[in-house]
């Protein structure tokens, strides 16, 4: 019998061969150093996987098994859960609209000096007032050229 590949060794460990072939392979492994080494390695690998995942198995020993929910009830339950986000969103929007505080226009009180100014100017022609109060000062040189003009009010 020729030497086995790593895959064949794995299949041997997992008892995937016919019983007669299993015996033949077993005899070969006993005699062959290479295959014996591969066999030991493959066994170690299997133990490693078991060790790695075994703890994971032990975790769910106490997991309670819920009652099976028949298809019709399960669909109903799922549909109810699907509606929950919509109901919550609608409730929040409704709450905001129902309890939204009425907006009261906020106005700053007008200072007294400003009030007096408005009273003073009330009903008057502001343009005319400006012209009446303004004084125009024109500075000229000896030849009569305007050097500067100043408007005061």
């Amino acid at each position: 019998m020729k030497c086995l590949s790593r895959t064949e060794i794995q299949e041997f460990i997992d008892k995937e061969f016919e019983p007669s072939l299993m015996t033949e392979i077993s005899d070969h492994i006993e005699k062959c150093k290479n295959c014996s080494s591969l066999y030991k390695q493959a066994n170690d690998d299997k133990a490693l996987i078991n060790r790695l995942l075994e703890d994971d198995k032990s975790v769910d020993k106490d997991l309670p098994i819920p009652e099976f929910i028949p298809p019709v009830l399960y669909e109903k339950k799922k549909n109810i859960f699907r509606l929950i986000p919509f109901v919550v969103a609608a409730s929040i929007i409704g709450f905001i609209f129902l309890f939204k505080p009425a907006r009261i226009p906020v106005s700053e009180p007008i200072p007294e000096a400003e009030m007096l100014m408005y009273e003073f100017y009330d009903g008057q022609d502001l343009n005319k007032m400006w012209h009446e109060k303004s004084q125009i000062l024109i500075l000229q040189d000896e030849q009569g050229n305007v050097i500067q003009s100043i408007i005061t009010n």
């Binding site: 895959t7 794995q10 703890d55 997991l63 399960y74």
Partner: protein, 168 residues
């Protein structure tokens, strides 16, 4: 075996299998519930299921693939095992904190999907024929895929979990 017997016998292991695939308790419960509903309906059609356990695993795995195929995992999948930078940094910290359960899930997460699936199924005691049926691959390729998966797992453990590996 009646539906109730199958349900009670395999509920817990299916929850664990589902958690190993998607990490979420809520999603696992939904996946398992939906799997059993399919099983219930299948029995209702008077279709005989020769191997209920393998059937349930197959249906659950397919449902998982259909529902969560587009979702990104929380942890990045390691593209190349040679690159240390691809390994989530906190894995090593977790090891030293002794959170083995978390490590197992994270180690599984770093493996490509088919590698993770075959290792979990193998550890759950399925035969090569059953694994081929569940994963929908050729029975003759199970041995090779399994050995490749073991090598990949060992590579990760050698790189990042020397302590765990050396216990072997």
């Amino acid at each position: 075996m009646s539906f109730d017997e199958v349900y009670k016998k395999h509920y817990r292991e299916l929850i664990r299998f589902s958690k190993q695939l998607n990490h979420s308790t809520d999603r696992s419960e939904d996946l398992v519930q939906e799997t059993f509903i399919k099983f219930y309906l299948e029995l209702g059609k008077n279709n005989s299921i020769q191997n209920p356990r393998a059937w349930l695993y197959k249906v659950l795995l397919n449902s998982f693939k259909t529902q969560f195929a587009g979702e990104k995992k929380e942890l990045q999948i390691m593209e190349t095992l040679d690159d240390h930078n691809d390994m989530p940094h906190d894995l090593q910290i977790d090891f030293f904190n002794g959170e083995k359960q978390a490590i197992v899930l994270k180690v599984l997460d770093t493996l490509p999907d088919n590698v993770r699936e075959i290792l979990v199924l193998y550890n759950n005691g399925f035969s090569y024929a059953e694994m081929a049926e569940i994963m929908e691959i050729s029975p003759s390729s199970v041995g090779k895929t399994l050995v490749r998966a073991i090598e990949k797992l060992k590579e990760i453990l050698k790189l990042h979990y020397h302590e765990m590996f050396e216990q072997n």
